[in-house]
Symmetry: C2
Subunit: 379 residues, 2 copies
């Protein structure tokens, strides 16, 4: 029995549904043991088929990064969503339309009094008690109210509580992506939890509600030892995995469910180069592993069974050309891959590589299943 | 009269059709003076509307980087195309189908005897004298036969000449992207020309035809002083421009026709950060300017009229968050941009940023024209 890859046009995405299912099951067991709900982030896969494997039920809960995702997953039956990017007032009418059209419990996040006032005014005009989570800054990474900034937390909370729309706090320990030591990752997860509990306590002490205490990032979700007081964990890339997460220590390279299938289109033998048709358009421009202990170039080259060739990586990429070569200093030799040979590239970043494609070709037990799962893009 | 941007959902692409037209006109004047045909590369814009502005006629000529582009532009009436990525034998049937279905003169490129033999066998089976250009390596950048490798050039030429399909040579001076000195760019253009003429002469001396001598890259197209003996120039990014090309010296920042419209969604005032809804999903992961004299982060922040804010760049980006901050060491102050304010980001790389979107909103004279130009993706 052949793998079926020869019939595919390259470059294209292969998704190993066995690894996907195992990654999801592993996270679910872990969070069940810690007593919290998994609210998977759908921004990595952007696929209803993947969402249905990752979610506890076909109606959710789940997390999205764009309103386009919210619409797509609502259309597909998901009814419990957080749009986890700070809200722009201009987007409130679209949020309201999604809530009405599909009856979705779609919550938003914000981190300023200005946004809270815009939301409160919108609620007064529209009569829809839009649920809101206050974004709290876990680690100085990006957005969110400082967890010790009682004045701002309470001021936002009071504006929102008027419209009965305050639902709690939300954090994302984004700086955990820069770590790679299990003890440091455990500490980052605990710091995220402490910041969340502290912010929720400030609201509650001011007489404001915080039924939801939401945290999440794949590295902290994989390393947390105690999630007492946390109600839910959001994580996305864990389902698929990638070389960056392997570098952090959030997965093994063998857990990565996504590869780009590519074809050899040339050689520069005196330089030890193999040229393929998967350039950065197919792999993305993501070079996240350049900052890690092991720089994987634009990805690791594997045979069609998914086994890495020793030390063979995508050393450089142009728009539609990948240049495979050995890692600097490697003692392996370049494999003999003739024109037309097929290989698979493990990506640096599942979110970025996936976004370059509009579908997944599903692989199970090493063979194409024939299923093609569409994925969405845009806003 | 307002600019009309307030009605757009962000993030989205704005394309200034005045700048686009001026960039195309400038290149056309330049190449007319040098006596060569412009065969614009459509991989940057991936839009039929843009192609019709860039091409000498609605039927071409033009260059593409994927067979999906070839199909799209053939469907739109283009009849003279080169697919300028080394051919995989598996793609020949699709090439043949495009040629038959639309009557397109679609040529392919290759740089090995193995590929030439696969093409010759395909021609014998199909009776379609598929035109082929031999890719020649201008500067060690990527693919192509070494221009001094007479044996390989003649061996490929003889295999192809049998099927009457040898059309000439094609080069791409990719290493010119690493330059930024006008004299060095002029020298790179001349080196590209010399390599092209040398390879064509080798074929001709062996009694083989080379009616086409095709070169191209935006930096060399903008700097060549003499193109005698060259029949056509392929270039694509020149139409739109980007910060990377400005760093090379191929355009001015004010020539860049593409911006990403974005909305302010937050602040971290103690750090001097403005958070927007254009993260790397909207801007791409391209950090090409990091290798240049001026690192533009993920892009330069401009007001809605397109004027850069002094020293304000996208310092970092997450999937759906852009972090604006001043350049390191800047003396300017962070502008006061409230929640909901709209701004425009000049991109590092037009090909990569464009690829994150499915349409252009057209701007002329500073206002939306109402035209929306679709763009394609995939393979």
């Amino acid at each position: 029995m052949t793998d079926g890859f020869d019939d595919l046009e390259t470059p294209c995405l292969l998704l190993d549904s066995d690894k996907l299912a195992a990654n999801v099951a592993g996270m679910r067991v872990r969070l069940d043991r810690l007593g919290v709900t998994l609210r998977p982030h759908l921004k990595t896969a952007k696929s209803l088929d993947v969402a249905r494997i990752a979610m506890a039920s076909p109606s959710g809960p789940a997390t999205v990064s764009t309103l386009r995702e919210a619409e797509h997953f609502a259309e597909g039956g998901v009814r419990d969503l957080i749009y986890a990017v700070g809200i722009a007032p201009q987007k409130l009418d679209r949020v309201g339309a999604i809530r009405r059209r599909w009856g979705v419990d779609l919550a938003i996040v914000l981190d300023s009094v200005a946004q809270a006032e815009a939301v409160a005014a919108w609620i007064r005009r529209n009569g829809d008690p839009l649920p809101v989570l206050i974004e709290v800054d876990a680690d100085g990474h990006r957005s969110g109210v400082n967890p010790g900034d009682t004045d701002t937390l309470v001021a936002i909370g009071r504006v929102l509580a008027e419209g009965a729309s305050l639902r709690g706090v939300l954090l994302h320990a984004g700086d955990s992506y820069g770590l790679n030591d299990p003890a440091a990752l455990r500490a980052a997860a605990e710091a995220e939890r402490q910041a969340a509990l502290g912010a929720a306590a400030i609201l509650r002490e001011a007489g404001l509600p915080s039924p939801v205490v939401s945290v999440g990032s794949t590295p902290t979700a994989r390393h947390a030892e105690n999630l007492d007081g946390i109600t839910e964990v959001r994580a996305g890339v864990f389902m698929i995995g990638d070389l960056f997460q392997a570098g952090v220590g959030s997965c093994a390279i063998d857990d990565i469910a996504l590869t780009v299938l590519t074809t050899v289109i040339g050689h520069q033998r005196d330089k030890g180069w193999i040229i393929t048709d998967a350039g950065w358009m197919a792999l993305s421009r993501d070079r996240g592993t350049a900052r890690q202990a092991v720089d994987q170039g634009y990805g690791i080259a594997c045979d069609s069974a998914g086994h890495p060739y020793p030390d063979l990586i995508v050393r450089d990429a142009n728009q539609e050309h990948g240049i495979l070569a050995l890692r600097p200093g490697a003692s392996a030799s370049v494999p003999d891959l003739p024109i037309g040979a097929r290989l698979r590239i493990l990506p640096n970043h599942a979110c970025a590589t996936g976004a370059q494609h509009d579908r997944y070709h599903v692989v199970s037990d090493g063979h194409l299943t024939g299923a093609v799962w569409p994925r969405i893009s845009g806003w």
